[in-house]
């Protein structure tokens, strides 16, 4: 069945709300406004204000309240409108949600799901264009997911809610209108990366909003006689090293594509794992295509220049191929 990423998220949320009375959705403008990306439009009428809970502008407060509610037996889905505002809530995520189980010697788990939009591409400028997946992927005690397909948008929520620990879900803002197949039957796996295109010459390893660009680059490369494999990480913490290494062992070449700023990017971690685990399989140094290290400019042509693009991926892939 063809559907959109947004519709897939909606279907997953509705199902979760219908199936488990402990589930509720809380965040800024999830209710009366209908969700800032229209993901929860109509839910207020369907599930009522207790379960579709509009929160005041208090990111630290309502994320912390989500943690408390999870401890108290509920299964909250907290929507932090965008990753940009999640900076205000990081203390609760790092110092409470992710540490609580360990600090309590295993007594308290925090079955919390946090959803947030991330990424650039809509000319929203420096404060509204962050990709900070790499920061979250650094924190022990949580899991981090990045659905990049309609299927994952549909299937990742249920296992995230079933997970006893905090799960952060990044929805790239450029994907909401993505159309694709969703033959949803069961929840998808949330432990492994997935090969989205098989190839033999070079591995393009990516996630989230960069997946469509990597796939587009692979098509362009095919036209140049280069057969690229595209690996969608899907799960950013814990990273699925095995799948990464398996692909690189096959292709012997890797380009990591990541919308985060280059220095200290998640791409660096992927490269580190590749050299740690598959150094002698490499025919060329792994390369990366990341965002330029500049706060995101507003002007469209500058934003485009700052972000990873298919053309840059093609160039990087050709370079590692020595072409």
């Amino acid at each position: 069945m063809k559907t959109s990423y947004r519709e897939a998220l909606r279907a997953a949320l509705r199902e979760a709300l219908q199936d488990d009375p402990r589930v509720f959705l809380m965040g800024e403008d999830v209710g009366r406004y209908g969700g800032s990306y229209a993901v929860s439009k109509g839910f207020l009428e369907e599930f009522g204000p207790e379960r579709i809970r509009d929160a005041p502008l208090s990111e630290l407060g309502f994320v912390g309240a989500g943690i408390g509610a999870a401890l108290g037996g509920m299964r909250p889905i907290v929507e932090v409108m965008t990753v940009n505002f999640s900076l205000l809530a990081l203390d609760q995520i790092v110092n409470t949600a992710s540490a609580l189980r360990h600090m309590s010697g295993g007594q308290f788990s925090v079955p919390l799901v946090i959803r947030m939009a991330s990424g650039a591409g809509r000319q929203l400028a420096a404060q509204h264009s962050h990709s900070l997946e790499c920061w979250y992927a650094h924190i022990p005690g949580i899991k981090v997911l990045a659905p990049a397909t309609v299927e994952d948008a549909r299937g990742m929520l249920a296992p995230a809610l079933a997970d006893p620990d905090p799960v952060i879900i990044f929805e790239h803002a450029q994907l909401y209108n993505l159309e694709g197949e969703s033959n949803h039957v069961a929840p998808v796996d949330i432990s492994a990366a997935r090969v989205r295109r098989t190839g033999s010459d070079v591995s393009l390893i990516t996630y989230g909003g960069s997946l469509p660009k990597a796939l587009q680059a692979a098509e362009l490369l095919a036209g140049m006689g280069i057969d690229a494999e595209v690996v969608d990480l899907r799960v950013l913490r814990p990273l699925d090293s095995q799948s990464i290494v398996a692909s690189v062992r096959k292709t012997h070449r890797a380009v990591v594509v990541d919308e985060g700023w280059r220095s200290g990017s998640l791409a660096a971690e992927v490269m580190a794992r590749i050299v740690e685990q598959a150094f002698f399989d490499l025919d060329a140094p792994p390369a990366r295509v990341c965002s330029e290290e500049v706060p995101m400019p507003y002007a469209r042509h500058l934003e485009e220049a700052a972000l990873p693009q298919a053309a840059k991926i093609v160039a990087a892939a050709r370079a590692v191929m020595g072409k």
């Binding site: 403008d29 209710g31 009366r32 469209r300 500058l302 700052a306």
Partner: protein, 340 residues
């Protein structure tokens, strides 16, 4: 509509009217230009709230500082940033007041001490506290020209920002350290789709501010005269006493929150009722009633505003895209470069 006489001389009375018209016409065109794809990103219109920026900013001196939000076109314009520079910024051209790097939400202007343009709700509040702290600590802060008087930092923010921890911490710091901050809360009753009653247990925002031992005033933000007078009182308090002052401007936005907002959360009737109290309409009626304005004069002012807007669009259209090679510019300050 408040029918009391406008207590200003004609040039100033018309200045207020003209500035409200300039904002209104500029933003109406901006909305069109958004539809045409010339302006992108988020665009938050101030239409309906013009009396606040106009009345308040005309009470400030050139050396005072201003901190605003993403809904700041009007503030920038009244403060003295040229419409050309604002329009070019929204187009993303290098002639923009932020070189096209900031866009609608990030208008900046060093010359007029206009410190943005902040897209993080509540994000400007600590900044304003710090600007005022600098004024308290440094000699420029207390002497200006011949007179010795304190500089003021005026910080604009919405009702939604009041729920943020940043509001609480900033109010306390300003009050504790007695800093010259004028807190200007633009209470338009909604934060995106969330009405004040669904975001605050205490909806009297002056009562909230008073809990920090900050003095307060609540004023009709649709009435430019009331706004101006209240702001003058607030400013005088800050200059005399040094400590902060809080004004709640009761206002309303006539348009959607941003160009993405389907406005599901409020009735057309509510919007219509507020439009009856529209600041342009009510103020020009008052001026006319007291014989300070004729319809011809009004139309002339309006035409002048529209001409300025048209010129600014032409200016922005003619502006240049910054070369892509300059992408990495202004991340760090070049050695020997400018600092504020």
């Amino acid at each position: 509509m408040n029918a009391s006489a406008v207590p200003y001389d004609k040039p100033f009375a018309l200045r207020l009217l003209k500035d409200m018209l300039r904002i209104r016409r500029m933003e109406e065109e901006a909305a069109e230009l958004y539809g045409a794809g010339k302006i992108r990103g988020f665009l938050h219109l101030y239409i309906g709230e013009e009396a606040v920026a106009v009345g308040a900013l005309h009470a400030l001196q050139p050396d005072d500082a201003i901190v605003a939000t993403y809904r700041e076109h009007g503030h920038a314009l009244v403060r003295g940033v040229s419409m050309n520079a604002i329009m070019a910024e929204m187009f993303g051209k290098q002639e923009g007041c932020s070189r096209g790097r900031g866009g609608s939400m990030h208008l900046f202007d060093a010359a007029t001490r206009f410190y943005g343009g902040n897209a993080i709700v509540g994000g400007g509040l600590p900044l304003a506290v710090g600007l005022a702290l600098a004024d308290q600590l440094s000699p420029e802060g207390i002497s200006y020209g011949a007179q010795h008087r304190r500089r003021v930092t005026a910080c604009f923010f919405g009702d939604g920002a009041v729920a943020e921890g940043a509001f609480h911490e900033s109010m306390n710091l300003a009050a504790l350290w007695r800093l010259p901050v004028l807190f200007c809360c633009e209470n338009n009753l909604y934060a995106m789709g969330t009405s004040l009653a669904r975001s605050e247990s205490q909806t009297d925002l002056c009562a909230k501010a008073a809990a920090y031992k900050v003095e307060t005033l609540k004023v009709d933000g649709m009435d430019v005269v009331a706004v101006h007078d209240a702001t003058r009182i607030g400013i005088a308090h800050v200059r005399d006493k040094g400590g902060p002052f809080f004004i709640e401007f009761q206002t309303f936005r006539f348009r959607a929150h941003s160009m993405y907002d389907p406005e599901l959360y409020r009735d057309k009737a509510e919007v219509e009722a507020w439009k009856q109290r529209g600041p342009l309409h009510s103020y020009s009626a008052r001026l006319k009633a007291q014989g300070m304005l004729t319809e011809d004069e009004f139309l002339a002012c309006d035409a002048e505003a529209q001409a300025e807007v048209d010129a600014s669009i032409a200016y922005a259209e003619a502006g240049a895209w910054e070369p892509v090679e300059d992408l990495m510019r202004d991340v760090l300050t070049p050695v020997g470069g400018t600092t504020s």
